[in-house]
Amino acid sequence: MFDYLCATFYLDQPMVQNALLVGVLISLCASLLGVTLVLKRFSLIGDGLSHVAFGAMAIAGVLNFTHDMYFILPATILCAILMLRAGQNTVIMGDAVVAILSVASLAIGYLLVNLFSSSTNLTGDVCTTLFGSTSILTLKPFDVYLSIGLSLAVIAIFVLFYNKIFACTFDEDFARATGTPVTIYNFFIAAVIAVIIVLAMKLVGALLISALIIFPALSAMRVFRSFLAVTICSAVLSVVCSLAGLLVSIVAGTPVGSTIVCFDLVTFAIFSLVGLARRRFRVSLPAAAAACLAILMLASCSCSKSPTPPAVADNEVYDIDLLQQNETMAWALASNVTQTPDDYAGMRIRLAGRFGHVKNPENNQDMPACIITDATACCQMQFEFDQTGSPYPAEGTRIILSGKLTPVMRGKTKACYLENASFTVVQ
C-alpha cells in the first residue's frame, strides 16, 4: 500500500515531501484567521495584501537581495497595518485604501520588473508569482525552514490569543470599553495576516490567496455554530483541501494553486448543502465528516485515472530523466535545474521540448535550444545545446534532448547548456 502511494504520488522525492509539509502548514495558518476576517468584513484584505507582496517581491528582485523575504515581510506587514487601521477609523475610506494600496503596488511592481529585471524569462517570473504554478514544488531549503518556522509561530500566536481574538471580533466596542487593548490586538492580527499572505504566495500564488483564507471559514460557518467548532473545522477543511489539491496536481499535471482552490470551492458547495440539510434534519458532525471523506474520494478517483508517463526505450542511464516523470513533476524538476544549474552540474539529463533558438546576450548569437513551456505558454525554460554535424530541425519541432549539464554565464544569470548533446525528433 505504502509503496503504491509512494509510486503514485512521488512521495519518496524530497521536493514532494517538502511541498506537502509546507503546504499543510501554510493552509492551516491561512484558515485560522479566516473566520475573523470574514466576520470583520475584511475578506478582500487578503487580495489587497497579496498585491502588495507582489510589489515588494518585485522591488526585492530589482535590488537583488539574496533572501528577498527579509524585505517582503516587513513591507507587507506595514501595509497590512495601514489597511486595517484605515478600515477602523473611517468607514468610507476603508475599502478605498485597500484598493489604492493594492493596485498601486501591483502597477509599481510590474513596472519595476519590466524596467530593471535581470531575469531572462520575465513573463514566466510574473506568471509564477501571480498563479503559484509549481513554485511550491521548487522550494529552496531556506524557504522550507522559514515557512515551517513562521507557520509554527502563527499557530502558537493564534492559540495563545484565541480568546482575545474572539472578544475583538465579536464586539470591538465592548472589548475596548471593558479594558481590552483592542488597537494593539488589531495591529497584531494585521501583522499575522501579512505573514500568512507572504507564505501562501508560494502555495497558490498572489491572485488566489483570498480563496485559501476565506473559503474554509465560509464552508465551516455553513455547518457549525460555535466559534471554536468553526475554527477547528475550517482548519481541518483547509488542510484536507490543500493536500487533495497538491496530490491531484502532482499526479494529473494541473496547476497547484487553482487545483487547491477548486477543491475549496467544491467543499464550499458540499458544506452549503450539508448546512441546508442540517436545518431540516438536525445532523451536523456525521454529515460534515462524510463530506470530507467525499472530497478525499474525489481526489483519489481523479488520481487513479491519471495518465502514466510514456516510457521511451533507451539503453543509457540518466541522472535526471524528465521523460520518466509526469508533466507537473517534470516541470518542477526542470525549473529546479534551471534556477540552480550549479547544483546539477555534470549530471546526465534527458528532457523533451520544442526546438528553438535563444539569443546569447554576450555575443548576440543565436544558440540552438530545447524549450519547455507550461500549459499557458507564459512560463518557459531553455536548455541550450550545440550539435554540429547533423542538421537542425525546423523551429517548434518536438525533440527529445539528452546530454551532460554544464552551467554557463549568460549576461548576469546562469543558464543551462548541454554538453555532448544528442537529440531525436519526435513524430
Binding site: V35, K164, T169, D171, D173, T178, R225, F227
Partner: protein, 234 residues
C-alpha cells in the same frame, strides 16, 4: 462623592458641535435615563462615557474607585453579530476578557462568574445554543449577562428594548429593574420609551439644545419634560 461626574462637557464629532455645557452626576445605586431626539448626541455621549472617544471639551470624572473601563456595556446590535457563529457560553465568557490582562486563558473564577450570570439571566438551558438562532429578547439577555461579567458596579444600556415585542420589553425592564433594586447595580439607560423612564428612572438627563438634568419628578414637572411627553404621545 458620585460614581461618575460630567463637568462642563462639550460633545461633537468632526467639525460639528452637538451641545455645550453639559453637567450631570450619577451616584451609587441610581437609575439614570438619557433621553433626547435622534441626532441630539446621545450616542456620542455614550461613546465618551465608555472612553471610546474623547469629549470635544470638559471632563468625565469617575469617582469612588471606579475606573472608566469598569463600565458594563449593553450595546446596540451590530451587523457583524447578526450572523456570528458563537454559543451563548462563548459570548458571556468573553465579558471576562478585561480581567485577563495578558494571560491568554480564562481562570476558573471567570468561568464560575459566567455560569452564575447565565443563570441570573435565566439562560442556563440555552448555554450551548448558537447566538444567531436566539430570539431578539434572548440575545439581549445574553449581552446583558456578558456585561455583568465585565463589571458589577455600573451598567450602561444603549436602547436595550429596541426591536423587542411588548412582552419581551416588559421582561427586559423587569430584569434591569431587579438588577438596580436588588443587586444595587447603578444603571445608565439610553431610551426613547418615556413610559419606562417615568416608571423606572430615578434621574433623567434630557439631551438637546437646552440640556436638562434632574430627578424623575423634576423632569416630568418641567416644561421640557411635559413638551417631550406630549410630542411622543402624538
Amino acid at each position: 462623592m458620585s460614581l461618575l461626574t460630567a463637568n462642563n462637557l462639550t460633545l461633537g464629532y468632526g467639525d460639528r458641535l452637538l451641545l455645550k455645557g453639559l453637567n450631570f452626576s450619577v451616584n451609587e445605586g441610581e437609575f439614570l435615563c438619557i433621553v433626547g431626539e435622534n441626532g441630539s448626541g446621545k450616542s456620542t455621549l455614550v461613546r465618551c462615557l465608555l472612553g471610546l472617544q474623547k469629549p470635544a471639551g470638559g471632563v468625565i470624572q469617575p469617582g469612588e474607585g471606579l475606573a472608566l473601563n469598569q463600565i458594563g456595556y449593553l450595546p446596540q446590535q451590530t451587523v457583524v453579530q447578526k450572523d456570528f457563529p458563537a454559543t451563548v457560553w462563548e459570548i458571556v465568557l468573553s465579558g471576562c476578557q478585561g480581567h485577563c490582562g495578558l494571560w491568554p486563558f480564562y481562570s476558573k473564577a471567570d468561568k464560575a462568574l459566567a455560569k452564575a450570570n447565565i443563570a441570573r439571566m435565566g439562560l442556563t438551558e440555552l448555554t450551548r445554543r448558537c447566538y444567531r438562532e436566539l430570539s431578539g429578547g434572548q440575545q439581549q439577555r445574553v449581552l446583558l449577562a456578558r456585561a455583568l461579567c465585565a463589571t458589577r458596579r455600573l451598567m450602561l444600556l444603549d436602547e436595550p428594548v429596541s426591536g423587542l415585542d411588548p412582552r419581551m420589553t416588559a421582561e427586559m425592564y423587569h430584569l434591569i429593574d431587579k438588577l438596580n433594586h436588588q443587586e444595587k447595580i447603578t444603571v445608565i439607560m439610553v431610551t426613547h420609551d418615556l413610559a419606562a423612564v417615568r416608571e423606572y428612572a430615578s434621574h433623567v438627563l434630557h439631551i438637546g439644545k437646552k440640556p436638562l438634568f434632574g430627578t424623575n419628578q423634576e423632569y416630568f414637572a418641567s416644561d421640557l419634560g411635559h413638551h417631550f411627553t406630549t410630542l411622543s404621545q402624538m
